[in-house]
């Protein structure tokens, strides 16, 4: 029996068209036009106990909305979800006792106090006994290497330090299900890596189930075997991550800046031009020939700045669709 079962889960937001100006504000009081935005459209998936699943999609695709429904923060418009045996939005105590969420954009820590105080508060909220609390806290502080900051005012912590505190606060009660929404957003590379490693170890040691969203493919690639891709509220892909990363990594974007104006015709031979304004260009290049291609560009063109990047997730998704189409034929 899967620990997270999602079936036809749907969320619509009502909103009102708003025109600028006071006159319209008055008009809106009596006569507002109601519009509906379908944030999540009838999605279904199952997650087995102990899995780490990456939830990928461009901004506004419905990732966070789905996570919020699975946390019970918002109530879905339709469909069902069972997490650890409960409907999350019924907000049963037993559900909350075994559940946790970390959101990179939100904090549960009190800014004016040391993080330790929030831990104590959570100790009471989650009814953790003294010995258990001490054992867990010591373990987590050691793993995340934060013993020095635990008594420092949260306000004075760096983002990376604070994020680690968020993890401790979220894990003191040893949740069986853990949702992570952009847990590494805005972090420096070292903090990103520390948190990644921590998540992996935590999953292996405790066997907890983790659903993770991230902007960084790096996070997902290093943690998850399975990926669910959501785009415009529908699931575009659910399966092996390697399949996704192959597609994404198959094509790279080369961003170059030149010291002087370079004619378009000189660049075209290196690959498909995505953007061009004379002194800079974005070129799509096949991964296999990337090395040679880069070398050729650097050798023949007057380059000042050179970068190789992943293609945006949106594009990867459309690529995957194309590919899917090909294999079916």
């Amino acid at each position: 029996m899967a620990i997270i079962q999602v079936k036809d889960l749907t969320k619509n937001y009502d909103y009102y068209s708003k025109e600028q100006g006071l006159k319209n504000s008055f008009k809106n009081v009596f006569n507002r036009k109601k519009l509906i935005k379908e944030a999540v459209k009838s999605i279904s998936f199952d997650i087995e106990k102990g899995e780490i699943v990456g939830f990928i999609g461009p901004n506004g695709a419905g990732k966070t909305t789905t996570l919020k429904m699975l946390s019970g923060i918002i109530v879905p418009t339709g469909g069902s979800a069972v997490v650890n045996g409960f409907k999350p939005w019924e907000r049963k105590k037993q559900f909350k006792m075994n559940f946790s969420i970390v959101m990179g954009q939100k904090t549960q820590l009190n800014w004016d106090l040391p993080a330790l105080e929030t831990f104590y508060l959570n100790k009471h909220i989650y009814e953790i006994n003294d010995t258990e609390f001490k054992k867990t806290l010591d373990g987590l502080t050691e793993q995340l290497d934060v013993a020095d900051f635990i008594k420092k005012q949260v306000r004075r912590l760096s983002l990376g330090e604070r994020m680690r505190m968020e993890f401790i606060a979220a894990l003191l009660h040893k949740p069986k299900v853990l949702l992570l929404d952009e847990p590494t957003i805005g972090l420096d590379l070292i903090s990103q890596r520390t948190i990644r490693e921590f998540i992996r170890n935590y999953n292996q040691e405790t066997g907890s189930t983790i659903l993770l969203t991230s902007h960084y493919m790096g996070d997902i690639e290093s943690l998850c075997k399975r990926a669910i891709i959501i785009n415009e509220g529908v699931i575009a892909y659910d399966g092996e991550l390697s399949h996704v990363s192959d597609t994404i990594n198959k094509i790279k974007l080369i961003k170059v800046q030149f010291t002087e104006k370079v004619p378009k015709s000189d660049i075209e031979k290196f690959g498909v031009i995505k953007e061009y304004d004379g002194v800079s260009a974005v070129i799509e290049a096949d991964k296999n020939g990337l090395k040679e291609c880069s070398k050729a560009i650097l050798d023949t063109l007057p380059v000042v700045d050179f970068n190789i990047e992943d293609i945006p997730i949106e594009e990867a998704i459309s690529l995957m669709y194309e590919k899917g189409g090909e294999t079916e034929e």
Binding site: G72, M97, I101, K106, Q108, L121
Partner: protein
């Protein structure tokens, strides 16, 4: 049930501790808060001063009885501002910024957490001191010999007044679940508090009925004082016990409706 209550009491203890720690962190604000509140206190004292100097009966109260009444009003103001009003203000702000998310997922009452977590220490200090002084002085001058029963009722109705305050003044803030701009509504509702500055008997019958039975703002300060002076009608007595229960159940139900509208703004 009992363990849940015990747990919430423990958590409240932590809230108190954190509030004190936070306020000591911003000492200048703390002192300024006291000073500003003192000026407000003086305006309340003016009402006492006027009744004392004219010697007129106001709504059937002698000047000394008015003094006692204003004293009780100050104590209730201290409780309202100290325990609730800051939370209520932060609340609508928090809803509009989607700050309930992280609390909603915890095994603790969201309403309890959101409406009681901050306890203001500075503002109540002048009110408690001033209010107690007025009550003690007035009590002596009236030569009040209240029976145990009356004092008991006084305390019960004071507590009831607190419950009514909590429910009545939280309602407008819950509008934050429907609309972002709550400032005007909450501002007006908070000014309603001043209706307790003078006994309700100064208003005519219809206003009194409105303020007792429909929007029970008069109940808050009037009932404890009336109990102390032993001049409550049977209807008022029954209502005095019923209204806190009615309001509390009402706010619970309204809360549940409101929270289902929560859309968790801010991504």
């Amino acid at each position: 049930m009992f363990t849940e209550i015990k747990k919430h009491f423990k958590i409240y203890g932590h809230f108190l501790k954190y509030s004190i720690m936070e306020q000591l962190e911003y000492r200048a604000n703390f002192i300024l808060g006291i000073i500003v509140e003192c000026t407000w206190l003086c305006t309340k004292l003016l009402y006492v001063f006027i009744t004392q100097s004219t010697g007129a009966l106001v709504g059937g109260y002698t000047p000394d009885e008015i003094m006692l009444y204003v004293g009780v009003f100050m104590i209730l103001t201290a409780l309202y501002v100290g325990l609730f009003s800051w939370n209520f203000y932060f609340f609508s702000w928090g809803v509009s910024r989607g700050e309930l998310d992280m609390i909603m997922v915890k095994p603790v009452s969201l309403q309890f957490f959101m409406t009681t977590r901050y306890i203001n220490i500075s503002v109540p200090i002048p009110n408690i001191i001033g209010g107690t002084a007025l009550i003690v002085i007035a009590w002596g001058r009236i030569g009040l010999e209240a029976s145990i029963r009356n004092i008991l009722f006084f305390i019960l109705f004071l507590f009831g007044g607190m419950v009514v305050t909590y429910a009545l003044f939280l309602i407008p803030h819950l509008s934050a679940f429907w609309t972002i701009k709550t400032q005007g509504i909450t501002e007006i509702s908070s000014r309603m508090w001043d209706f307790n500055n003078m006994p309700m008997q100064i208003y005519n019958k219809w206003w009194q009925r409105l303020g007792v039975f429909f929007i029970p703002v008069f109940v808050i300060t009037n009932f404890p004082v009336m109990a102390l002076f032993n001049n409550m009608s049977l209807l008022h007595l029954i209502w005095g016990f019923a209204v806190p229960a009615v309001m509390f159940i009402g706010i619970r139900l309204f809360w549940k409706v409101a929270i289902s509208k929560y859309s968790s703004a801010g991504g």
